[in-house]
Symmetry: C2
Subunit: 84 residues, 2 copies
């Protein structure tokens, strides 16, 4: 694996992992008052397009990280809709 | 501009714009209790790496959207640190 792909995977690991503390916090507190519904609806839609874009430009980091980020952001969105 | 780049820009427009409602909500309410500090610290760091990665793979959508997203996410992070 070349160094550019490794940099992309490091970037993806950080941005994807960043959603974990928010998932854990929201799951524990069930409190979503300060989280914007609009943000997570637009974000989940955009992340889907990013995954398709990654596929089309053959970028493994863009594909992998957006698929995992979509799962995490969807959990936050679902908690917001349920406890909003 | 080719259709793949346009798809990438559409994806970037969505994920970048998604931070706007969160910035507006947090700016207005000054309430950041439900927002995870860990998320926005890791996210801002990762977004910086994504911009560098975009530069190295010559992807205009990855560069542009990550620079703008970094600015928006930094505002949320600053509000979280100030009103945390």
């Amino acid at each position: 694996m070349d160094s550019i792909t490794m940099l992309g995977l490091a970037a993806g690991a950080l941005t994807t992992a960043s959603f974990l503390p928010q998932v854990i916090k929201t799951w524990r507190t069930r409190s979503t008052k300060d989280i914007s519904l609009g943000m997570f609806v637009a974000f989940c839609a955009g992340i889907c397009l990013w995954a398709v874009y990654g596929f089309l430009i053959h970028s493994l980091p863009v594909i992998i990280t957006n698929v995992i980020t979509f799962i995490l952001a969807s959990i936050i969105l679902a908690l917001k809709i349920r406890h909003g």
